[in-house]
Symmetry: C2
Subunit: 413 residues, 2 copies
């Protein structure tokens, strides 16, 4: 796991960074959601993403289109947008939604503070929606806020668990080959039925793959393909790699993806997504501390211990707390020195309150306090202990579960 | 929803019954798990099922083979066996497990009281396991407890949500065509990669289907195919329909299955399965009452009301309670008349205790009592109310949540 130095500005999520792409200094780039193009000396391509989100979700068997189905009260598409937003080198994200869902989508963007999103109207089919998204990015469009990217990622609104590393792989492969897509082994054997619903033949499973998302293309390759393609393609086709092959004669590079890339299709997939999100929440903790040297040592001890139990342990001195909260970290260990009077914890509680994070799910904060046993009188100690209980009572009203932990300072160091 | 008459012996689960197969009197048959052949005048085929359960579950990313992974503390395969056991016309169920898991499997059969199960040793591949299962059913085997069926169902241990209607469809189609299998639309486009991991071609999604389970075969068709097939088939093949086509020249009839047929493959599928099982538990209620006429009327009122909220409402006079408990009904409404002194409720509580059902998940029992307000003195009424609280205290120790409901008898009727 890659972690930034405490007090520094390490990447928000572990995984390969843009330096893997073109040798650019991406650690700095990834530390904020600033536009990729603004980074000096960076030779990575300008990248945009298009998300068709006009589907009706008829396979789900529920009236709400699946991309808007709530998971822990938050719409599925918001998780997907967050996954893309975490990747600082994706400059623009174009979402195609139907006219009737336009206001819903705007509400989601506002509520969850999504950035870099542009909305276009979805077409009646998946391909038409993607085409609309590409048109918005093409140079000849009047919408001057957007500019034509070198590489465009196409992803599904209903694949919320896409990670930066697979996005990086398809973008890199698209730069080299013109087109690229994630694939997975087939779970079931694929068969061809005859007209009378009998088996005509079955395909040898090992020779085929399931084509998944994300896919990436040199913008001109896929845009040219869409401009040439037939009404039949636009109506009945679903596969962008096929269009790139048929019209731009580009054989896409195929990249093995992780099982996480699966598409939320059926109701059971919503259940699975919810469990995965809950599991991730429980596996993610942020240790907040100021930059005093003593604490840094404590922070590292704590980090090492937590890492034996949890997947995502982040230590911060507090500068990037806003970003960490935005990325749905629900567990915090906040280290204060006794003399600082809960300053760090109070600051964190204020930020959490402003973020509305705890509306969705309770946030757990453990406020750690160091105490030099010999130099502080007992009365003062107890006063502090009672103070945290008052804080906790107030915090609980806002769904923040605050606990205090008192540590005898000299014993620890 | 099909429901048996109150006090009668209706089918344990809704859905088409064997009368749909051959006009046999299946309601009676389905009311118990008695062997199909024992039913008089029934012309339906002798049916057995083979479940390969020798997989290692490497795609799951967990050390336990997926068929043994616990869902609500109960192994996945036990749910699948239960789904097959509910179908009274399946005579024998052959499970192929590896030698190292043989004792585990025996333990599961004993703990969850599975019936009609025979174990055979799994081969190193799926096809070899199925072949071993078929051999055990073939006439020339020394194991005389089993006899050769006319039709054999092949199902996966990791598809726990198979319903009787699809089993009926594949068995009926196999009788007519020699072979049959459930299919589903493809979720992803299927592509063929070239040797250098580039796209060679993509398949038109609408022209192909995913081959799922269950499948059914005339026993001789599939057994002959397995006897002829090559080592290569046995090592690298996975598709029984393909073997029936290649060696027995039978084009299987394809039957559209429901989304429930999906295979538990990844960890996320375990999450989904758990949520589905929990949802089913919450949607299933059994109303227990004795056969007094008054109560029958009440029972029907209650049934109608409950059916507006819940999917599975069963009314019983108590004879088949054992079976209902075995089928994991966790919610009971038990109707007593005041004079009978909680007899029905006490009997139900005793049976629940014996069944160990509540080890897995809390069982909810609402004990309903009718009271002729005018004829019973207040003191006696309160005595009864206190009595249910004592029962509830005891029941709670065994994870049974008992509530009492007192209804003024004359007002209701």
């Amino acid at each position: 796991m890659e972690l930034g130095p405490p007090g520094g500005s390490g990447p928000a999520e572990p995984g390969p960074r843009l330096r893997g792409l073109r040798g650019a200094d991406a650690a700095a780039s990834a530390s904020s959601l600033s536009r990729f193009g603004a980074e000096a000396g960076c030779r990575a391509p300008a990248v945009a993403a298009v998300l068709p989100a006009g589907g009706s979700g008829e396979r789900m068997g529920v009236p709400t289109p699946k991309q808007f189905c709530p998971i822990l009260e938050r719409p599925l598409i918001s998780y997907t947008l967050q996954a893309l937003e975490r990747v600082s080198w994706i400059k623009d994200i174009i979402v195609a939604v139907t006219r009737e869902n336009m206001e819903t989508m705007k509400g989601i963007i506002q509520r969850y503070q999504h950035k870099r999103i542009s909305l276009v109207e979805a077409g009646v089919t998946r391909h038409r929606s993607i085409f609309n998204g590409l048109k918005a990015l093409a140079e000849d469009q009047p919408n001057c806020r957007l500019s034509k990217p070198e590489v465009v990622i196409i992803h599904d609104a209903v694949r919320p668990f896409v990670e930066e590393d697979v996005l990086l792989k398809v973008v890199t492969a698209a730069q080299e080959h013109g087109a690229s897509g994630a694939i997975r082994p087939l779970v079931s054997t694929v068969i061809s039925p005859s007209a009378d619903s009998c088996l005509d033949h079955s395909l040898e499973r090992a020779r085929y793959r399931a084509s998944e998302m994300p896919q990436a293309f040199l913008f001109d390759v896929i845009y040219d393909a869409y401009q040439q393609c037939s009404d039949y393609d636009l109506e009945f086709g679903t596969e962008c790699l096929h269009l790139a092959l048929k019209y731009s004669h580009i054989k896409a590079k195929l990249v093995e993806g992780s099982p996480d890339l699966w598409k939320v299709t059926y109701k059971r997939d919503l259940y699975a997504a919810e469990s995965i999100i809950k599991e991730r929440i429980s596996q993610k903790v942020c240790v907040v501390m100021d930059t005093k040297e003593d604490e840094e040592h404590v922070g590292h001890c704590l980090e090492e211990m937590l890492k034996t139990e949890l997947n995502h342990v982040k230590v911060t001195s507090g500068q990037d707390l806003q970003q960490i909260i935005l990325e749905q970290c629900y567990n915090f260990v906040c280290v204060n020195v006794m003399t600082s009077d809960f300053e760090e914890t109070q600051r964190l509680l204020n930020m959490l309150e402003e973020s509305n994070l705890s509306i969705l799910y309770p946030v757990v904060v453990i406020s750690v306090h160091f105490l030099d046993y010999e130099s502080v009188p007992l009365g003062q100690k107890m006063e502090k202990v009672m103070q945290i209980r008052e804080f906790a009572k107030e915090a609980k009203k806002r769904n923040i579960l605050l606990s205090g932990l008192l540590i005898y300072f000299p014993q620890l160091l």
